[in-house]
């Protein structure tokens, strides 16, 4: 058999370029005659625009154009909704308010774009933006999602007469009936606030319209180049083949870069066509805080029903979800919250209802985790509260409620973000819990170490929280694989890459099938001229959906290779072996042909090709899963708190994880590390703080604290379990968001345990030293 690459920690093909400064990022694109754009963004969270005076800006030397909504004429159209609500959801309210290119007569959040300046340099463009005079009539602002639904609240959309963007109710079983039989009912309010994705690379675009060839090229820091190409073509009245969108190396995505047809993306191509010069726009960090989408704001009223032996009989959750000033991403996040609120547990009855609320804040769309951390937080907190009430060990109560290994697939009768019923395809939770418990040393810590440390005056605690992650959702992705006459393999797929190691993991899948070295598979991702079918990199789906398309294409190319080689070498296919870039007859090694030579024979310059055959050694395949596959894991940590400063020190962190077939364990571990660090940030250091006027108070890295190396635990120990997904031939599941999902739940649990204050319940996220201090004081004063 050929070399085994899937499952190996193969070093990354993309690294040498990235490490030496040779990788192309959007801001590295330099075109002759290029202009630069800067946006004027609203300083008010809610105001009527009375007038805009661009005269002074236009007169500045070096300014080429200044556009406001009025200048756009008929081109001014709301962007299409990116995600519609699932048609399968019945009796719902949904009021779509998509993004618009530039605010026309109303601004609805700080950072709402009002005008754009195009100039010879970015410096001039930014100066000129400051010379645009906008006469605003400030209006009352609503930032609080509870107040937003009160009858006298200011309205983000007057014409709607309400701030209600959506209302959805779903139920599995019958919660009310279950609650009647319960020995214990727990009710709590839980609050989760916003955090930023904060990719190190801000958003950016370079767009070039070539009037002579009538062709547009756009470099974009996007997670979704193909939908952007299609959307742009439609918006600009061009054919899809006149537009090429390239997502080159992208410096981190984490969700917001999936957004498409955003104001900048729509306006700059339009301007480039009018001015017939290339235009570059690179967002700065402040703009990224104000003008890039965010996530997490929700308020939950949770109720859980337990029997006295700790079995959960039912769960009820009614929550508000903050969508900000527009809702282009539909219901993805709150639906994810609904489908993840049962976690790893057998919850027979679940009533879940949400209202999505408009506020005068930046738009909310998925950020790594995308509604899942909230769902996991609430069910895990309920488990902890029940454990305390019933006097059951926190790990034990979880064990008693786990979905057993023989119960899969588990149908939840709750519609999810991919428009179909949430189903857990596979999993094996019990051994994952045991692995995490052993790795963290749970029993020894609780019985021996903690009492000693407590006696010595230390505030140190432990937490353990399982989670699920629905990943690898449809609709589909595709890939084309070609053996070139050099013997190298070309692999192209539509999904773009933002650091997930696609150039390596994808190459591993193809290399294994084709018997070549991983370095000899040249991968191209995210260039619509190379491959124009697909949707994008989101919902932890690249390795699953594109990965299986690549697997299928590689298998077909392999079949073509064997057929052609069998003809050329005059040997039956079963006797052939693909190895080291050549095909040989297994027991006569000298009788062989290199892949490159075979590729040439398969694509002759003269002579006849058999009718019905295709030239070359190439195949294109697609893969679309029936539904998303469920990855799972259990995180555990030991944390010490300094009761005076409330600074925390995560002493030990472990995670047992199951993402089915692992393509590259080094890469999977890396994804988990990164997710954990973002989870720690979003749980303790990071919070987007809006004041009552809708001003974002911490729009810089000085005030918004992304975790540093010293904020992380000394190590993250990871154990893998491979429960293969039955939904795809490789058996793989996604991992991109895993690390971030359990952290709020496990940190809250560990901190409560560490502080050990009667009545202290941590039911909100993110925390911070200051907030933890307040909550601890309040609990002490209550005694």
């Amino acid at each position: 058999m050929t070399a085994k690459y899937v499952g190996q920690p193969v070093k990354r093909n993309e690294d040498p370029r990235l490490l030496t400064g040779q990788a192309l990022f959007v801001d590295d694109v330099h075109l002759p005659d290029m202009l630069h754009a800067a946006f004027l963004r609203s300083d008010y969270a809610h105001a009527r625009i009375l007038s805009i005076d661009t005269t002074a800006a236009k007169e500045m030397p070096g300014v080429v154009a200044v556009y406001t909504a009025e200048d756009l004429g008929d081109f001014w159209q709301p962007s299409p909704m990116i995600v519609q609500p699932p048609p399968t959801l019945e009796d719902i309210v949904f009021n779509p308010r998509p993004q618009i290119p530039l605010a026309k007569d109303m601004v609805r959040h700080i950072g709402d774009p009002v005008a754009v300046v195009i100039a010879e340099s970015r410096y001039i463009a930014e100066d000129a933006a400051e010379q645009i005079w906008v006469d605003y009539e400030p209006l009352e602002v609503v930032t609080d999602i509870e107040k937003a639904l009160e009858p006298d609240s200011p309205l983000v959309y007057e014409d709607l007469g309400t701030n209600l963007a959506s209302h959805v109710r779903q139920e599995k079983g019958n919660y009310a009936a279950a609650a009647k039989k319960a020995d214990l009912i727990i009710k709590r309010r839980m609050v989760i606030d916003r955090g930023a994705a904060a990719a190190m690379e801000n958003r950016g675009i370079v767009v070039d319209w070539d009037a002579k060839t009538q062709h547009m090229t756009m470099w974009n820091t996007t997670q979704a180049p193909i939908p952007i190409r299609n959307g742009l073509a439609a918006t600009l009245g061009l054919s899809e083949h006149q537009v090429r969108v390239i997502a080159p190396f992208v410096g981190g995505g984490f969700g917001p870069k999936i957004m498409l047809l955003q104001p900048e993306e729509v306006l700059l191509p339009w301007a480039a066509m009018r001015l017939c010069r290339p235009i570059k726009w690179i967002e700065d960090r402040r703009e990224n805080f104000l003008g890039t989408t965010q996530e997490r704001g929700q308020i939950h009223a949770v109720e859980a029903a337990f029997s006295k032996d700790g079995k959960i009989l039912g769960l009820k959750d009614i929550f508000l979800h903050d969508t900000g000033a527009y809702n282009p991403y539909g219901l993805t996040i709150p639906l994810n919250t609904q489908t993840h609120s049962m976690g790893v547990y057998d919850v027979p009855n679940f009533y879940t209802e949400f209202k999505v609320v408009f506020t005068n804040k930046m738009i909310v769309t998925p950020v790594r985790g995308a509604g899942r951390p909230q769902g996991i937080f609430l069910v895990e907190r309920m488990m902890d509260l029940a454990a305390k009430e019933l006097g059951i060990d926190p790990v034990e109560i979880r064990r008693r409620n786990l979905i057993p290994a023989d119960a899969f697939p588990v149908h939840h009768s709750i519609i999810g973000q991919d428009f179909i019923e949430a189903i857990y395809d596979s999993g094996n939770f019990q051994p994952l819990v045991e692995k995490a418990r052993l790795l963290i040393g749970y029993d020894k810590f609780v019985t021996e170490e903690q009492p000693k440390l407590r006696a010595a005056g230390k505030h140190i605690g432990i937490g353990l929280a399982p989670f699920v992650e629905s990943t690898g959702v449809g609709p589909y992705e595709g890939a084309r694989i070609t053996v070139e006459s050099s013997g190298k393999v070309n692999l192209v797929t539509g999904v773009g890459t933002q650091g997930q190691s696609h150039f390596t993991s994808f190459a591993q899948i193809a290399a294994e099938q084709l018997g070549v070295a991983v370095q000899d598979v040249e991968v191209t991702t995210g260039d619509t001229d190379q491959f124009h079918w697909g949707t994008g990199t989101f919902a932890s789906r690249g390795a699953v959906v594109a990965g299986n398309a690549i697997f299928a294409a590689a298998k077909r190319v392999r079949a073509k290779i064997l057929a052609k080689a069998s003809e050329v070498l005059d040997a039956p296919e079963e006797e052939l072996e693909l190895k080291d870039g050549a095909i040989r007859i297994a027991d006569i090694p000298e009788k062989s042909i290199s892949l490159g030579e075979l590729a040439m024979l398969a694509n002759p310059l003269r002579g006849a090709v058999e009718p019905g055959t295709e030239p070359g050694l190439e195949a294109t395949e697609y893969f679309g899963p029936k539904y998303g596959t469920t990855a799972s894991g259990v995180a555990a940590m030991i944390v010490e708190v300094d009761p005076d400063t409330m600074l925390i020190d995560i002493k030990k962190f472990v995670i047992a994880h199951d993402c089915g077939t692992v393509i590259n364990p080094m890469v999977v571990d890396g994804q988990i590390h990164g997710g954990v660090s973002m989870g720690i940030g979003h749980s303790f250091y990071e919070q987007l703080i809006y004041d009552e006027n809708g001003q974002l108070l911490n729009a810089s890295f000085m005030d918004y604290l992304v975790p540093r190396s010293t904020d992380m635990p000394p190590s993250i120990e990871i154990a893998h379990q491979e429960t293969k997904s039955p939904l795809n031939p490789m058996g793989s599941k996604g991992v991109g968001e895993a690390g971030a999902i359990p952290i709020p739940a496990v940190l809250a649990q560990a901190l409560e345990n560490a502080l050990n204050i009667d009545g202290l319940e941590l039911l909100e996220m993110p925390l911070s030293p200051g907030r933890l201090f307040e909550l601890a004081q309040a609990a002490k004063n209550r005694d």
Partner: protein, 159 residues
């Protein structure tokens, strides 16, 4: 428009003469005037460290300096550290330990770490963490970077 200033700067051993506006940031100068785009810009306010370069051998944030301040000085950027075929031990160690994902922050880390390892050939893991803490990375969670620096230190000690 404004007065332009002539400057001479040596970057990665090459001397450049350019005329620049006094307000041009050193990071923009390197990236957009000299086309040395390996130096990245993540915040332009001195926190993320993506733009770190060596200024007469010391790590500085090029987004916090003007190009004119570099007049007569010697700079080193990631392009001077190694090439894909002949990487610096730090670069090799970063690849070996998977210490980069999107790679956007990486040049800044490498340029902060080079002088650190020269001054601390045998750092402890805590010292490495401390040295890394001046730069931000959103992808890796830093642990693999700690491993990579330890490995690079070892490789460099063994020559």
């Amino acid at each position: 428009m404004e007065n332009l200033i002539e400057i001479t700067v040596t970057v990665n051993g090459t001397e450049y003469h350019r005329t620049v506006e006094p307000r041009m940031l050193l990071s923009d100068f390197l990236r957009h005037e000299l086309n040395l785009t390996g130096t990245h810009v993540g915040c332009e306010h001195g926190v993320c460290g993506s733009c770190t370069i060596l200024f007469d051998g010391d790590p500085v944030r090029s987004c916090l300096m003007f190009a004119v301040q570099a007049n007569g000085h010697t700079l080193e950027t990631v392009e001077g550290l190694g090439t894909p075929d002949a990487m610096h031990p730090l670069q090799n160690a970063f690849r070996e330990k998977h210490a980069l994902q999107c790679g956007f922050c990486t040049p800044g880390f490498l340029m902060s770490l080079k002088p650190f390892l020269e001054q601390n050939p045998n750092p402890s893991r805590d010292e490495i963490r401390e040295a890394l803490s001046g730069n931000l990375c959103r992808c890796t969670g830093y642990e693999n970077m700690v491993d990579a620096v330890a490995l690079a230190a070892e490789e460099m000690r063994n020559g």
